[in-house]
Subunit: 616 residues, 2 copies
């Protein structure tokens, strides 16, 4: 049954909503797809729900195709399993917590690792039951500190999450690859541009972890890529190429120098070049070792100082640091903290005060570039004094390394001789070799072929389903409105009746009815007393890819078919319009069809990734 | 793609779960459809999710068919709209409440009246936009005091809720009737026996309100029906036929009598018959007026005593009373309460102490049978004393009437001369003329044809979607397991391969593949090394209506087709099995087909309400 604008629960807006920061948010609200209820919490109006269901269908089809089985966990989850894995505490303020009338504690599931793991433990017990991949498409909750951009980062949102269960790593590799392949198909069908980047593997380091990022300027993720070798990684996951160590033999001794009023790298470098000029090359920021102290706030409420040593020409990147110290949160080191650690001389902090061997004992981690044998100008832990030629591995050591320094365009590619470029994206999917973390925490074991209990190895795979709607909108719009890829569009065809002639409305209905009979869904703009201009504006805003205008030309047996993407219009004989449009929607329109033929040649059109079947 | 028992995420249980009270709960857990996470909170395993989706599909098809439009509200809702309607307080302990990281208060939506009303207010503003019916199929939350019977009464559950919006009552009547008709079609398709009963209209009294109850002994609702006229009503909604008033002229005067040690109706009647025998007939419990005092706990925390006068041969029915005083809850009147109201003499409470004119001022409501001119024996508000011949309307009055006395089988039908019978049912649907309650509270007005603002009139319509799964199971099982109606079954056909012969497994796969090619979904029991007995038991437990057994007979070109409902088995030539089964599943099997023909005659079978199309 065709939808009708005269009765559709829809109101389009000419003005942008005040809180809309990004185009997708602005247009999805203006075109009547979603409506805000509370920060990060949205209602899906009829057109929006249709798009959301289309995304779900694509995800479901591709998950089913790799043999993953769908189930559905509750969103309201008891505290206990999350305590067993430590996540009840780790999540901090990021989850919604509540208690029932009896005082039992619950949370609204942000992800369901615990439930998947426990349910497999409950049902399965043998290697013969594996491999297993199970998934759900479900409403999830996160109490984001900064919900933003409409459904792009909501507090109530729909995700597809799946988990694979295997007896060994070889099995996990297969399950991982199957999911990765399915994700490629899903994102190809969704019709936006994306990149697959290496991602943080988390605490279980060494396992594979990749993110699917939709390329978008409004994205919150920054990734780098190398044009030479194709390497791509979320900045959080970039591993800096480590230089070879320098032999310690023959390196000059370190010496402390007066460097008054040089609390910044800039003042220090100027001072060095003025007072201690070098023959071969001037001092540069990269010759200095900057020691930054932060405070880590652990989920259990404890606080711990952390010092990070990076070459002075680089800042500490908040996100990279944050990813490394998760689940702890990074806070500023306050004046009060300096007071409590009197051996730290602000602006002149050096390795001598840091690390397990240092005077403060504060944990000290170094950028991987600070390899053995490299010499640095760095703080001497006295006001107005620095030490010159302090050699790593000879004059100081640290408690380890950390990938916290900023990654910059032009940095060396960690994989080839090329250099890195930076871009922004929106995380749309994540495939991740989770390993045995949850299986161990919740004791998920199966009997192997030899009758021995082995801990199951898991993979974790997520797609942001509601986010995908925003993401597709972000990648498919123009200044007039949305432009849906066929497979996502709320309906296949928008039939607009214009003018006052009753015959026009009758014919528009007839065309819609015939389209529906061919399995092509239609939205008819059957509003009386609404000007053609308003109707065209609405159709452009709503963004159905094919628009059929039934108007004045009908008297001459002509209707207009408009391609929303190119805004090309062409006149089609009214008797040809249904077969023409059906072929176009099914992606079988030949070039002849596009230029006005009946489209019955059956050629596959060149619509590429957004070509769709007629069953949407 | 056919499902396979060897890889299906399923474990059937031979033992009943310890907490299972009713057959549907027992069987849905044992057959691996649902799994408990927490009280009243369940996971839908793959087979269960398929049944749930089938229910959703049926509901969606029938809602779409009446032009209702689907949308989706969030489950996490801000407090403010619920404060505007008073429900934030009214719901008391029955809702889950929480707050976000900034301290803003939220609830998990138990129903969405506020959201529907506000969204219509947000989008629509004219009579031209109406009528409108919108619905969602959504996860809802109620913190039930006693979650029970698995998914029959859960704390997280799926409901379809719709609301209609009209400018006037005539429009509401049409919308109501359209929904009622759709519900009849939905419940016919769901395949369980149900009755439509009159229900409480709530605070807005006078509007239409009907419930769809699945008839089931395990049901929590009691309803009465009249075999003569077809009247049926939830006991809560039964209105007692009111007798005509009796002329007061000539009625004997009341007189107080000593009735020592008669604190109960039984002892009082015995005493009356012994000390004050009547000529015409003995005293009976129905001659006495019993005054019951309870305490009402209002949602705002205040408590208020309430006295109810009922004929002494009837108890006050807790549920009927509860429905009348909603949202207040009924609590016992404690010894402390008696102490605080010294004028109430326990066991001897009479009208003189009650009502706005009585010595205590406690609100006093009478059973509708206590009409003007009726004479009663009732408490004299002194220990061991009763008053005889106290005439309603002459000697005492009350503050109103209340429908709180028990309804009993054999009671007079309120509509005809017949008598009422009682039965139990499960509330599966509710259609309700909500009126203007929410539109007034939230100021939903539209401009009418004369340009005047009028308050919109609403209807409210709900279907318990997840509950329906339990309800269908409750009405469709035998001692061996579940027996799904075709349209609800997780798959259309269960193909069981038995024995060790490889050819059997190959043929079973081939049959499943061919069935799927015909749009008939299949589950193949392809487990090796599992005995035929276990496979048969599992197939009976799982309850797919048609079971094809491929086993020893294959050597002779025969397979067995079993009807799960009748447990009839018949031998079918292996080459005929696919057309036979396809016809059976589509409900087009002729009698010839059932007795072994190919089913290609195309006759519509006599499967009635559970006949289904082949596209499930």
């Amino acid at each position: 049954m065709a939808l009708h604008m005269s009765s559709l629960f829809l109101r389009t807006l000419r003005e942008d909503p005040a809180d809309a920061e990004v185009p997708s948010h602005r247009l999805l609200v203006r075109a009547g797809y979603v409506r805000r209820v509370s920060p990060g919490i949205y209602t899906w109006l009829p057109l929006g729900l249709r798009v959301l269901r289309n995304v779900e269908r694509i995800v479901r089809e591709e998950m089913d195709a790799i043999g993953a089985q769908e189930l559905l966990f509750p969103a309201l989850l008891p505290k206990e399993p999350f305590e067993a894995t430590g996540r009840w505490t780790e999540y901090g303020d990021n989850i919604f917590r509540l208690h029932d009338r009896k005082g039992a504690e619950y949370l609204l599931g942000p992800t369901h690792e615990e439930m998947f793991t426990l349910t497999v433990k409950d049902l399965f017990s043998s290697y013969k039951d594996l491999p297993l991949s199970i998934y759900q498409i479900q409403t999830k909750y996160r109490d984001e500190a900064r919900p933003r951009a409409g459904v792009l980062r909501g507090r109530e949102f729909v995700m597809k999450d799946s988990y694979s269960f295997d007896v060994d790593e070889a099995g996990l590799d297969k399950s991982y690859q199957a999911h990765r392949d399915a994700y490629v198909r899903i994102f190809d069908r969704l019709g936006f541009h994306y990149v697959i980047v290496e991602a943080m593997a988390g605490a279980m380091g060494g396992s594979k972890s990749e993110e699917f990022l939709a390329t978008a300027e409004v994205g919150e993720d920054t990734y780098v890529h190398c044009a030479s070798c194709g390497y791509a990684a979320n900045v959080e996951a970039v591993r800096v190429p480590t230089p070879d160590p320098v032999p310690l033999d023959g390196l000059a001794a370190a010496h402390v120098e007066d460097t008054p009023d040089t609390p910044t790298i800039e003042t220090l470098v100027a001072h060095l070049n003025e007072r201690f000029p070098r023959d071969d090359r001037p001092w540069a920021a990269g010759d200095t070792l900057k020691n930054v102290v932060v405070m880590l706030a652990h989920p259990d409420g404890t606080r711990e100082p952390l010092a990070i040593g990076v070459p002075g020409d680089r800042e500490v990147d908040e996100k990279r640091l944050g990813a490394q110290v998760e689940p702890a949160e990074v806070e500023a080191f306050t004046e009060a903290d300096f007071t409590a650690n009197a051996a730290l001389v602000k602006g002149y902090i050096g390795p001598g005060a840091l690390g397990s061997e240092g005077s403060t004992g504060i944990r000290y981690l170094l950028d991987p570039r600070v390899v053995e044998g490299t010499a640095w100008v760095t703080g001497a832990n006295e006001p107005g004094r620095h030490v010159v030629g302090l050699v790593a591995g000879r004059d100081f050591t640290a408690d380890g390394t950390i990938e916290a320094a900023e990654v910059r365009p032009g940095d060396a590619c960690p994989r080839c001789d090329g250099t890195l470029e930076a871009a922004r994206g929106i995380e749309m999917g994540h495939v991740f070799q989770l390993g045995r973390k949850y299986a161990e925490a919740l004791d998920l074991k199966v009997l192997d072929q030899n009758g021995k209990l082995v801990t199951v190895v898991m993979g974790s795979y997520g797609v942001g389903v509601s986010r995908a709607v925003a993401c597709v909108a972000e990648g498919n719009h123009d200044e007039l409105g949305l432009v849906w890829p066929r497979e996502l569009s709320p309906v296949d065809v928008h039939v607009v009746a214009t003018g006052k002639d009753e015959e026009v409305f009758v014919k528009a209905e007839e065309i819609a009815r015939e389209l529906e009979a061919h399995g092509v869904s239609a939205l008819v703009d059957d509003r009386r007393g609404v000007s053609p201009g308003v109707k065209f504006k609405d159709s452009e805003l709503i963004g159905v890819p094919t628009i059929v205008v039934v108007g004045r030309g009908l008297a001459d047996g002509q209707v207009e078919v408009k391609d929303r993407r190119t805004n090309e219009r062409r006149s089609v004989a009214v008797d040809d319009v249904v077969p023409t449009v059906v072929a176009e929607v099914r992606g079988t329109a030949s070039v002849a069809g596009v230029s006005g033929g009946t489209g019955d040649t059956g050629d596959t059109g060149a619509t590429g990734a957004t070509a769709t079947d007629g069953e949407a």
